[in-house]
Amino acid sequence: MTEKPVPVPDEISEPFFDGARQGRLMLQHCSACDGWSFPVRERCPHCFSAGLQWRQASGRGSLYTFTIMHQVMNPGFASAVPYNIAQIDLAEGVRMTSNIVSTGNEALRIGMPLEVVFEEADGNVSLPKFRPAAG
């Protein structure tokens, strides 16, 4: 059986994946304009400053929208369908795409509070995912 694809950290995303392995959601924060950004990038998308710093994010957010995938787009997900893909609005103001775990797809509700959890993909890489949180 084909496994799900596991990401390989590259130079710029390494702090994100290092954080995830240690159970911390790390995002880039701009010291010049106080803006957060995601996905990972070289320069602040708000003000063009190159002074992005890695900071631990709250890991809290809410469900903005989601889909239940039925089509197998990659053989690694053949046994995973139907699985959810969700957009999570984080408290920091960025919208992150991930999966919701610890609950059934039928229980997903837009607006529900969520918190980050970390799921090991292999020995070296963990993925930030989200589960329902107390309101």
Binding site: P5, V6, I68, T97, S98, L127
Partner: protein, 390 residues
């Protein structure tokens, strides 16, 4: 120069579409351009501008000029704002013609993602080689491939906010299938009912198979020149009265709501103002329809109905043959053929000329054309007319 034609369409070439295997995109492109020149009554040597819509596979680029043997071009580029590129190309062609940089500009889209071993589902599924590094790898690890999940999430958001239903989206698909049955170019000919739509399997909930566009091998070419020049050519002139782009920006911020308002709103406002006409003047819409939902949100953003009322607006069949707002009259990308923004553009030319045969709409004075690229990221609008002013 408000209310003056920015340029005009003199020729249209559309190849066979669909599961036509073993040919390169550039070969389809050459055939479409030859058809368009014949259609216009122009010669290959008349062409001095070539704008190529870069496709996802990357095999349509500026070097296509050499493969196709064009010489002494004074305008050449491969352009990409993804699905919205057709409208951008039309803008740049008209501006170049007005500026005297070129006289006869070919716009072409060609693609050949389908093969005997690679079907529609995998053609636009994104990367096929793993592992992937960094953020691309993260996206894949969540099972997020291609456009299907992204548009599904946008449609879900719209449903949540406004009560839009799958049946309402289905009305769009059913109407366009009815149009496709009237078009000799359309790939999908078998009748479709709302029950068929509802019975079709989910691809990415809430989107079903029959909410999703086709994937086609083929090409479309459009020849643009000045409005004056088209008067002496073979076909009835189709004047370009207005055009605009809008790219709203990063979707991955919590203050952005791409599922709610797309670039159609701003680009539509600009294009209507430029053309000097109102929505009521539009006799037919040719809208980018990668998914049924795209049509619905585009109609809202162009102001044909209030925001959030798109579901009820389309549910009565007004987009279908005989309806009050005939839309995607060649079947669109859902049932006709998938050539990015050249699907709506090509059908708009047919309708504006009055050459639609069984599918010709009664009011073809002004035709609204949209194109949409990325994940509701890029938008272009064109207003075409058989008249030389708005």
């Amino acid at each position: 120069m408000a209310n003056q034609p920015k340029g005009a369409i003199a020729g249209l070439g559309v190849t066979q579409m669909g599961k036509i295997y073993g040919r390169r995109a550039v070969d389809f492109a050459a055939e479409a351009i030859a058809l368009a020149l014949e259609d216009a009554g122009l010669n290959k040597s008349d062409v001095d501008g070539l704008l190529i819509n870069a496709n996802l596979s990357g095999d349509m680029d500026a070097r296509s000029q050499m493969v196709m043997g064009f010489e002494n071009l004074t305008l050449i580029n491969a352009m990409s704002a993804y699905g919205s590129t057709a409208g951008s190309m039309m803008q740049y062609a008209c501006m170049a013609i007005q500026e005297g940089l070129a006289n006869v500009v070919v716009l072409v889209y060609a693609d050949a993602p389908l093969s005997a071993t690679r079907g529609a589902g995998q053609s636009y599924a994104g990367p096929h080689r793993f592992p992937l590094a960094g953020m691309a790898g993260l996206r894949a690890a969540y099972g997020n491939f291609g456009a299907n999940p992204e548009y599904a999430m946008a449609a879900r958001r719209h449903m949540h906010l406004y009560g839009t239903t799958s049946e309402q989206l289905g009305a769009i698909a059913v109407g366009q299938r009815a149009w496709a049955q009237l078009s000799p170019w359309a790939q999908m000919k078998q009748p479709m009912t709302l029950e068929d739509h509802q019975a079709s399997r989910f691809i990415a909930e809430p989107l079903r198979l029959l909410d999703c566009c086709l994937v086609s091998n083929g090409a479309v070419a459009v020849i643009v020149t000045s409005s004056e020049r088209t008067r002496d050519l073979r076909q009835p002139p189709v004047n370009v009265l207005g055009y605009a782009q809008c790219a709203p920006g990063d979707n991955l911020r919590t203050d952005r709501h791409p599922a709610v308002e797309t670039g159609a709103k701003r680009s539509g406002e600009i294009a209507f103002r430029m053309a000097g006409i109102n929505r009521d003047d539009i006799g037919t819409c040719q809208l980018y329809d990668c998914y049924t939902y795209t049509v619905l949100v585009t109609l809202e953003d162009y102001g044909f109905c209030a925001k959030g009322e798109g579901g009820a607006f389309v549910a009565d069949g007004k987009l279908a043959p005989g309806g009050a707002l005939p839309t995607n009259t060649g079947g669109g990308q859902l049932s006709g053929y998938y050539m990015w923004g050249f699907t709506p553009l090509s059908e708009a030319v047919v309708q504006a000329r009055g050459q639609g045969g069984a599918r010709q709409v009664p009011r073809n004075d002004y035709v609204l054309v949209s194109a949409n690229g990325g994940i509701l990221t890029y938008h272009s609008t064109i207003i075409l007319s058989r008249h030389a002013s708005g």
